[in-house]
């Protein structure tokens, strides 16, 4: 027998206890939406998982009103340590239900169970634990004594890390004393709805967390709602721009975490085997559907051939297939639309003269799949070197000197992440200093920690998530908040409404 054809080792779906239909989670209850429900499917099989409610304008109003009520009557009045208790409770429940959440995430998103089990869900718990600890220490957030919460936060998150992005948004918002209305992506609402159950289980006061599902128009209604004080969005640069336009001229605070085209720079003195692992992890983790993916490989000319050879050999060992199999390295692409975009950009890469190589792996019949692909002979002017592909596609470029590496790495409208591979510490520090990217990893890639701020430069967005900086995004200095209260007529109107 062939040992490397490991026998199937599927994670059981029996742990899931899903409903056939999910409502909107508003004011602590699941309620039906006014829009036409839609199906959430598994991208690996295209089979329906559940029917999901669709929130219309009236539902968004209801959710924001519930969040406002909860903010005014309970959450903003709780002591920090009491808010912390709820967050710690949520974190523990996430840990208790980790296996279930991991299976649900793999099923709904298409990413391999080993990633949801070992990365996504542990990080979700870590994020809640981290911000739970901040809840009673806000005076150390860097905004002076007694910083004030903002109010109601409207949060719209993407489909690539559904539950993790939820944690990045909800944990700091609640710790700071805000209430939230969150809209998960249309293709991946499942874990957000399981999270709603966790909020019920944790006895979180009704209205503190509201989760509304729907497509882009629901998100649009939410971020444009007059009664939200903070908008946080993670997703594409195009939508981010539209949101920025819509909040311009209002007093809403805004955080945007958008696209990227991260450069992974490999110097000739790099620890080569680990660099190969880092390149693979940088662009094939989560099928490359990562905003901070290292999708541009900048490799020093003197080691280019060796690196590409080793990379191809390594990619040939990746196992593509059933996301729920514990040995799967590459899962399904999240949606047909995304697959189309990846295929289209890859075809353009070929037409523009880059050399395409894909790992030889069997593609399942149903579902959305794309074999790990690398392009060599890529020039900086090629579209595959400039556009965010958001798929398992790596563009390989070369450089001769550190100065050229820095210039090429910075030659992008984005600025979210970068990686440096070298055995020489002084070079790592010197190069990192000149890279215009929010996160620079040295001799590693795609490592996350709740204590470390994350965010972008240029078209990759603004504001930071994670760490003290991520907390400050949901706070205002005490005096500013007082001014806003007296000066803004909108707020007095709201007070009347509450009476």
């Amino acid at each position: 027998m062939n040992f490397l054809d490991y026998a199937p080792a599927p994670e059981s779906k029996a742990i899931l206890n899903l409903r056939n239909d999910y409502g909107l989670f508003i004011d602590g209850e699941f309620v039906d939406g006014t829009g036409t429900p839609f199906a959430s499917i598994s991208p690996a099989t295209e089979q329906q998982i559940a029917m999901i409610s669709n929130a219309g304008a009236a539902d968004v109003d209801k959710a924001v009103a519930a969040a406002r009520r909860a903010y005014d009557t309970t959450w903003s009045r709780l002591s920090g340590s009491d808010r912390g208790k709820y967050l710690f409770r949520i974190a523990r429940l996430v840990q208790e239900r980790a296996r279930e959440l991991a299976v649900a995430e793999s099923l709904d998103n298409g990413k391999p169970i080993k990633e949801t089990r070992d990365v996504d869900i542990p990080l979700v718990a870590a994020w809640f634990f981290y911000y739970a600890g901040w809840a009673d220490k806000l005076e150390h957030a860097g905004l002076g004594p007694n910083p004030a919460s903002l109010g109601v936060a409207a949060q719209v998150i993407p489909w690539n890390f559904p539950l993790l992005m939820l944690a990045w948004k909800i944990a700091p918002a609640l710790a700071a004393g805000n209430t939230v209305v969150l809209k998960p992506a249309e293709t991946t609402p499942l874990t957000a709805l399981l999270f709603a159950e966790i909020c019920q289980q944790a006895d979180l006061p009704p209205g503190v967390v509201n989760i509304i599902t729907g497509a882009g128009d629901t998100g649009d209604l939410l971020v444009k709602h007059a009664d939200v004080n903070k908008v946080a969005f993670t997703g594409s640069t195009a939508v981010g721009r539209a949101i920025a336009r819509s909040v311009a001229g209002t007093d809403k605070k805004l955080t945007l975490e958008l696209g990227g085209k991260g450069a992974n720079i490999v110097f000739d003195d790099a620890p080569i085997d680990q660099a190969i692992e880092g390149i693979v992890n940088g662009v094939f983790f989560n099928q490359g559907q990562v905003c901070c993916a290292g999708s541009r490989l900048l490799v020093q000319e003197s080691v280019h051939d060796d690196v590409v050879d080793r990379l191809k050999q390594r990619l040939s060992t990746l196992r593509l297939g059933d996301p729920l199999d514990k040995n799967t390295d590459i899962g399904a692409i999240n949606s047909a639309a995304q697959l189309k975009r990846i295929s289209a950009l890859s075809d353009i890469g070929e037409q523009e003269g880059a050399e395409r190589w894909s790992a030889d792996c069997a593609i399942p019949e149903n579902g959305f799949w794309f074999a790990p692909t690398i392009f060599t002979n890529v020039s900086t002017s090629h579209r595959i070197a400039r556009d965010e592909i958001f798929g398992p596609v790596l563009s390989v470029l070369t450089f001769r000197t550190p100065a050229e590496a820095i210039a090429k790495a910075n030659n992008t409208p984005y600025g979210l992440s970068a990686g440096i591979w070298s055995d020489k510490g002084s070079r790592i520090l010197a190069v990192a200093d000149k890279l215009r990217a929010g996160v620079v990893w040295a001799n590693t890639f795609n490592r996350f920690d709740p204590a470390s701020p994350f965010g972008g430069y240029k078209e990759s967005g603004f504001g930071r998530e994670g760490g003290r900086q991520g907390l400050a995004a949901y706070l205002a200095p005490a005096s500013t908040k007082a001014d806003a209260r007296t000066d803004t007529p909108k707020i007095s109107a709201r007070k009347k409404a509450a009476q």
Binding site: A7, I272, D273, Q274, D423, T444
Partner: protein, 334 residues
Amino acid sequence: MTSTELATRERTLSLLGGEATDSNLRRYLHGIPGVDAVGLEQRAAALGTRSIKTSSKKWAIDTIIGLIDLTTLEGADTPGKVRSLVAKAITPDPADPSCPRVAAVCVYGDMVGDAVRALGAAHTTPAQPGINVAAVATAFPSGRASRAVKLADTADAIAAGADEIDMVIDRGAFLSGRYGEVFDEIVAVKAACARPDGTTAHLKVILETGELNTYDNVRRASWLAILAGGDFIKTSTGKVSPAATLPVTLSMLEVVRDWHRLTGEKIGVKPAGGIRTSKDAIKYLVTVAETVGEEWLVPELFRFGASSLLNDVLLQRQKLATGHYSGPAYVTID
């Protein structure tokens, strides 16, 4: 010099660009790309999460047994203890005749004769593959003796009928940068492995990675041992902690893979010491298969140096066959 020795020397000269002096070796070994410890350990941990089930597990269990160097290396070893070990090597599971035999028994040099006699017809002969006798030599485990003593130690074991020699490198010389000395010693021991009939015992070079301390050192020592003509590189004596670890073994496998890319020659790897459970051993199989390829999972190219591992593997084997776990009373102590 035999023709293989000549070929080894020629290749070394061309790779180093000169004789195997301290400075030439230093230039070569320090030009090898470094190892990032965090990344290496992360990769090893990831390989450790592979889930090996049902038919794959069954194959893995039998393969592990066939790759074991069943070992006794105690000051208290006696001919009786060695006979008992050999009996276990021949019939690992008395209740199941289909159970494969181990690859070799590994003993101190003065026990080689007893092991050979005890094996009898089960011993490897030129005509018939069987169980090998491996002898630790060169003032094992410390290696602190004169070159003459080490060579005599080796020659003794060969004369007594050893098929494989597990030598230790001079870690002191390695750590103080006297690479030429380490190199020459391996070459000399390899020459001492020659038998009168022109054949040569297989040479495993023990790096004692626990004393080398850094992965960069492990990698350099691996290259050095292979350049000098070692047939196998082996992690540890089992007398120093830490002994074999997955990251160390992974790093050595990467060297073996690179050597194969460079020369087309296949070198063996033997993690030894500290591997006690089937679960751990399966992680090593996965690491071998995904780093150098499945063709390395044969006794000529991969071994486990272990004693207690065998019984845990046998318990797992019985469980796969019967569907339930038995207990330590259902496997034999050797």
